[in-house]
Symmetry: C2
């Protein structure tokens, strides 16, 4: 099934808004076997929208529109649909009743604009919107389908997840696609590619492997095209197993999770309390760790010792080592781990110290040289990173790689457990 994605909105063309809806729709539709062949973004202008519909309706099996369903004068998608399909806009009492109930609940009056919002093209079936006032619409004519969705991302996603995608999945002409995603951290894309070279040569032609890299991490997505679910799932399990065998501990999970959640679960299940001691990452470790709901069950806090005086005073880093080796050195990150474990009464800790850039490098400690450490008060694993010149990328990547360092340390020390929070 070939689809056109038709995005409505001046703010997107002007670059005031990044169009994340299209990214999400591309992924979700691909996953159910719908190929987005083209994406068109047009202005909030009636003739432009009708022109784009004329272009797309005859060429594609499916047209998905986002935007232009709100209550303001700019929102003209329904008028354009009525004009294009030569149908009337008819008042939908059910939608109006629902809007009135929403406004009653929040104690404000609905406006005339909200009543206007309830006129729908007569050939549309409504897709309920649990998150807002404007329902989605499903129009089917001559074997072709059009879906119109609000531009607000969480409303769009809610309608597609609850109604749009399930209904699309029942259509004919879909090539089923099966996915399995392995999440890795700590290995670069080219290193993984070289380790998986032989494996990739063995893949049958109906199975593809995609590399989806982000800072410090690569997601590996196996996709199988066509065939029966049970058979494909057996195959994918087999190939996923081969990747696990090849990449070992670098694979931290499968599916829809994150490194910080995986590390959190590892700590919680063992009753271990984590603290962090940061310098160049400036709180980014703590920020990522606490992005996980419930992280207060295993995370005590961080000390960002941006200044050397704090490293000495609060973390017990040796003045002699700071003078001999400098703040960006292995002894210092080791002492930061031990110091924050003692200071915060933690079981395990991670630390980082480096030159985040863009300035401040020297010949022996260039921008991008960063030391990380992870462990407990007895045994600490350290690692020297050589990153690039981009300050924010260096900070984010260091936080990711330091969390990964602790994850590996924990896997290699399965006997170490704690008592959890007792306060």
């Amino acid at each position: 099934m070939q689809a056109l994605l038709l995005v409505i909105g001046d703010e997107i063309l002007l670059g005031q808004t990044i169009d994340t809806n299209s990214t999400w729709l591309g992924q979700e539709l691909h996953a159910i076997g719908v190929q987005i062949s083209r994406r068109m973004t047009v202005r909030d202008n009636l003739s432009e929208i009708v022109d784009a519909l004329s272009y797309g309706w005859s060429r594609y099996d499916l047209v998905i529109m986002t935007g232009g369903l709100g209550p303001t004068r700019d929102d003209i998608t329904k008028t354009a649909l009525a004009e294009f399909f030569k149908v009337d806009l008819v008042f939908d009492q059910g939608t109006y009743d629902r809007i009135l109930r929403i406004f009653e609940r929040i104690g404000r009056p609905a406006t005339e604009a909200h009543r206007e919002q309830c006129f729908m093209p007569s050939n549309a079936t409504l897709l309920p919107n649990a998150m807002g006032t404007a329902p989605g619409m499903w129009i089917e004519e001559n074997g072709r389908i059009l879906i119109s969705l609000p531009g607000v991302p969480y409303e769009m996603k809610s309608i597609m997840t609850s109604a749009g995608l399930p209904r699309l999945k029942t259509q004919e002409g879909l090539i089923p696609i099966f996915h399995r995603t392995l999440l890795t951290a700590g290995l670069g894309e080219s290193e993984i590619a070289s380790r998986l070279g032989t494996f990739e040569d063995q893949l049958p032609s109906h199975i593809k492997l995609a590399y989806l890299p982000s800072l410090g991490q690569v997601r590996l997505r196996l996709s199988a095209y066509g065939g029966q679910a049970a058979e494909r799932e057996r195959e994918m399990a087999h190939y996923a197993q081969m990747i696990h065998a090849e990449l070992g501990q670098a694979v931290y999970a499968e599916g829809d999770t994150t490194l910080e959640a995986t590390l959190g679960e590892l700590l919680r299940s063992r009753g271990l309390l984590l603290a962090t001691a940061e310098s160049c990452t400036g709180g980014a470790m703590a920020h990522q760790i606490t992005s996980v709901p419930g992280s207060s069950q295993y995370y005590l806090g961080t000390l960002v010792a941006y200044h050397n005086a704090l490293k000495i005073e609060k973390l017990g880093v040796s003045i002699a080592d700071l003078e001999t080796h400098g703040a960006v050195s292995e002894p210092v990150v080791r002492q930061m781990v031990r110091g924050v474990i003692r200071a915060f009464n933690a079981d395990v800790a991670i630390s980082a110290s480096g030159v985040a850039g863009p300035d401040g490098g020297s010949p022996d400690k260039p921008v991008g040289m960063i030391w990380i450490a992870a462990g407990n008060d007895k045994e600490i694993r350290t690692h020297q990173l050589k990153l690039g010149k981009d300050r924010m990328k260096n900070i984010e990547a260091t936080a990711i790689l330091a969390m990964n360092e602790l994850r590996i340390w924990l896997l290699n020390h399965p006997e170490i457990t704690g008592k959890g929070l007792v306060f």
Copy 2:
């Protein structure tokens, strides 16, 4: 001048890559008076690209293409251009010489694919690429212009900034646009809109005011269309002055800076040392403050006391107050400011404690209730925030609003200065 933006790439349609190029181009072109009327994204497929060119070339004054200029088999933009314009691809020795020099410098051999990259449509003028191997192209026929650019963002931006935009600016048919942007923090979009209601009624029709909101902040962009630069700049200065008068301290700067950089400059110029004490923000304050290069000149560090025991032990928060008022309370954020100033030997500090969510709320302390504080050891300003249910948004917004709280505090205490770093 009306433009079509033609984006080439399967990875964008599949949602594997977010198309940030289009956002940047939308902003930059709008700023010089070029209106992107439509954006089309098509697959890496010869007939699809030629079809899109056929659609766009006759309808628009300018077509800008991104992507498909690399050395791999997927990269077929030049073939499509040659086919569409019915011209030959001719070898460009200058480009090849430059590629050979790049590879000589990095000590690797250029491949046959790189030689292939040097064939260019014979009707194209090349736009030099200082950041990579593939030059941009400028094609002009019958008063229409086509610009083809690589998809790698920093190469695309480099070519446009150095060659594409300057050359476009000399074209006829551009309506000059003049911008002036005021940056505000701490006021909501609707509050600003109500305060500026009278002001907006007075704006002449050739001047528009756009609201560009982000978490805790709103950028206000004045745009003047047409006319002479000197006259427009005088007008804009006048209207900017009116906005300053209406919004007062909420306007923290004009132009291209950030709240964290503005706060940093304020601290540095007064020789004040900052520390932060965080709970629910979990390092996000530190992360934003240290995103500014050179922040080590005024920022000492943070203590994230995610756990109450650390609030008591490291920040001197009173056990009695924690029991009576709870961790999310005004006395606790006050004591966190005082505690971290004492612990880190800082001049000023900010703190936050709240329920970031999505769970953990109670009837009197619902998700989104967050206390922030800012000040020195003598005088502290506090504020209760009532935010939403989204954990990450609450964390980011709190960090922004707490930095803003200190900025306002500093503006109201111009007499307070420090000695800077003496370590």
